[in-house]
C-alpha cells in the first residue's frame, strides 16, 4: 500500500452553500503501478489530486504516501499539472534543475541529475531553449523531467496531455509507457480521455460526478501495449464499458451545469 486514500471527503463553502466535491474516496496503489482515474469534467479529479499533493486539506479522511500521512506539498510526490507550469524565464535545463536547487543539491550534482532526466525525456538538445520555444508536448515532457529529477515516490499527473493534438498525444503515450518501464516509478494519472486511460494503466478508477465518488475499479489486462492494441476487441470492450459509465454520469453533469 504505497499510496493510500482513506475515506477522503472534500467540500467547499460557496456563496450558495456547501458544495460537496469528493465523497468517501478510497484508493490503494501499490509500488510500481500505473493507475488512472477517469471522470467527466467537473467530477472533482483535480480536487482529488490536490489533496494527494497536499496543496489543499481534506475536509475529512487522509492520504498516506509510503505510510506517512500527507500534511503539505513536497517533492516526495512529483506533480505534472493540467496547465503548463514551466517557469517561463528559465530554460529547459534550469527548469529541470529547479526542484533540486530548492532542495539544496549542489550545482554539479543537480546538473548531472537534470541532464540525465532530460536524456530520459529525449530533450537534451533543447536544454538551452526557453519554454515558449517548445511545443505543448515538449513542455509536458520537461515538466515530467522536472518532477522526476527529485526522485519522487509517486508521480502525480493531472490531464497532462489534454491540450495536445492527437498525434503528439499518441507519441506521449508511447513515451510514458517506455518511461514507466525503464524507471519503474509509481504513477497516478488523472484524465477524461478513456482511450488514454485504457491504453496506459494497470487499473482504472472510474469516478462519478457530483459529488465525486469511485463508481468502479477496473483492472486492465491488455495483450500488448503498442498502438495496434487499439483495434483489439478487448480494448474496445474496456473503452465502451468506461464510456457508457461516464456517458451516463457525464450527461447528468452537463444537465447540472448552469
Amino acid at each position: 500500500m504505497f499510496l493510500q486514500v482513506n475515506k477522503l471527503n472534500k467540500q467547499f463553502q460557496t456563496k450558495t452553500g456547501t458544495l460537496v466535491v469528493l465523497k468517501d474516496i478510497d484508493m490503494t496503489i501499490q509500488q510500481g503501478e500505473f493507475i488512472c482515474a477517469v471522470g467527466a469534467s467537473g467530477s472533482g479529479k483535480s480536487t482529488l489530486l490536490r489533496q494527494i499533493a497536499g496543496l489543499d486539506t481534506p475536509t475529512s479522511g487522509e492520504v498516506k504516501v509510503d505510510g506517512k500521512q500527507v500534511t503539505g506539498p513536497g517533492p516526495d510526490r512529483g506533480m505534472v499539472f493540467q496547465h503548463y507550469t514551466l517557469f517561463p524565464w528559465m530554460n529547459v535545463q534550469e527548469n529541470t534543475e529547479f526542484g533540486l536547487k530548492l532542495q539544496g543539491v549542489p550545482k554539479k550534482e543537480r546538473r548531472e541529475q537534470a541532464s540525465y532526466f532530460l536524456t530520459v525525456v529525449g530533450l537534451t538538445k533543447f536544454a538551452q531553449s526557453l519554454p515558449k520555444e517548445l511545443s505543448g508536448g515538449m513542455k509536458q515532457r520537461v515538466a515530467i523531467a522536472r518532477a522526476l529529477a527529485s526522485e519522487p515516490k509517486v508521480l502525480l499527473m493531472d490531464e497532462p496531455f489534454g491540450a495536445l493534438d492527437i498525434h503528439t498525444k499518441e507519441s506521449m503515450h508511447e513515451f510514458m509507457l517506455d518511461l514507466w518501464q525503464r524507471t519503474n516509478i509509481t504513477i497516478f494519472m488523472i484524465t477524461h480521455d478513456v482511450e488514454e486511460a485504457v491504453f496506459l494503466s494497470n487499473r482504472i478508477y472510474a469516478l462519478g460526478a457530483r459529488p465525486g465518488t469511485v463508481r468502479k475499479e477496473i483492472p486492465i489486462n491488455l495483450p500488448d501495449r503498442t498502438h495496434m492494441v487499439k483495434r483489439h476487441a478487448i480494448f474496445h470492450d474496456y473503452r465502451d464499458e468506461l464510456m457508457d459509465l461516464l456517458r451516463k454520469h457525464g450527461q447528468e453533469a452537463v444537465a447540472a451545469v448552469v
Binding site: 503539505g72 513536497g74 549542489p106 548531472e112 540525465y116 532526466f117 529529477a149 526522485e151
Partner: protein
Amino acid sequence: MTSTPHRSIQSFIKPKLIRPTVFWRLAEDIPKPLYTALTITSIALPLLLWWMVTTFGNIDPKFLPSPGKVLEAFGRLWSTRELLKDTVASLWRVGVGFLFASLFSIPVGVLMGSFPSIRALLEPLFGLMRYMPAPAFIPLLILYLGIGEEPKITLIFIGVFFFNSLMVMDTVKFVPKDLIEATYMLGGNRWEALTQVILPHVLPGIIDACRINLAAAWQLVIVSELIAANEGLGRRISVAGRFLRTDEIFVGLIVIGVIGLTFDLLFQYLLRVSCKWASQKR
C-alpha cells in the same frame, strides 16, 4: 543513455517542511475576520503612534500637532463654513479638470491603441509632453487664460490628459485580435469593431486608468490653487504652510485623503461592476 548513477541524489536532499500559517499565506485568501482586523489596524496604528508621539514625546506642536489639536482645527474651520467652502471649491476644480481630461483622453487613448497610425502620430509627442511638469505651465496659463477658474482647471487637465491617454492606449493592446476578426466575419466594419467591440472590452481598463489618474489630479490641487485662489483645500494648505499652522495643513491633507479614498472605492466598485462579464477576477 548515460550511465550516471542517478540514484545518488537522495543523499544531497535536505528535507524541508512548509509550516501551515495564517498570517503568511502567500497568494491565498486569509480569513475574513483577520482581514478586517488588519484593515482596522492599518488606520488605527498610525493614529495611535501619532497620538503617543505627540503626547509623550516632547515635540513642538508647530512641528507636529497632536491629533487633538488637529481635531480642534477641524472643528474651528468647519464651524465657520470655511472648510466646506474649500472642499467644494477644490472638489469642483479637480472634478471638472479631471472630467474634461477623461472626456478627451479616453477617445484619444482608444484611437491610439486601436490604430497603429494614430499611435505613431501621437505617441512621441505625448511621451514628450507627459514628462513636462504641469506647474511649469502656470505662467503661460495666466497669460492665456487669466486668473479665474479656467487656468486652475486647465492645469489639472494638462496634468491628467497625457498620462491618461497613454494608459488607456496600453489597455487597448489587450483586446484579443480574434474578437475583432469575429466582428468582421459577422459583417461589421472597422468603426463598428471600434465602438461595439474594442470599447466595451477595454471599459474596465479605462476605469482603472482613470482611478489611478484621479489620484494624480489631486496631486495638482495645491499647485493649481496657487493661481489667485480665494478658497480651496490646496490654498488652505499653502497659506497654512506659510504661517506654520501645521494643524490646518493636517486638516487639509486628511480631508483630501478621505475624499480621494472615497472616490477610489467608488471607482473600484465601478470596475467590479463593469467587468462582471470577465471570467478572471480583477
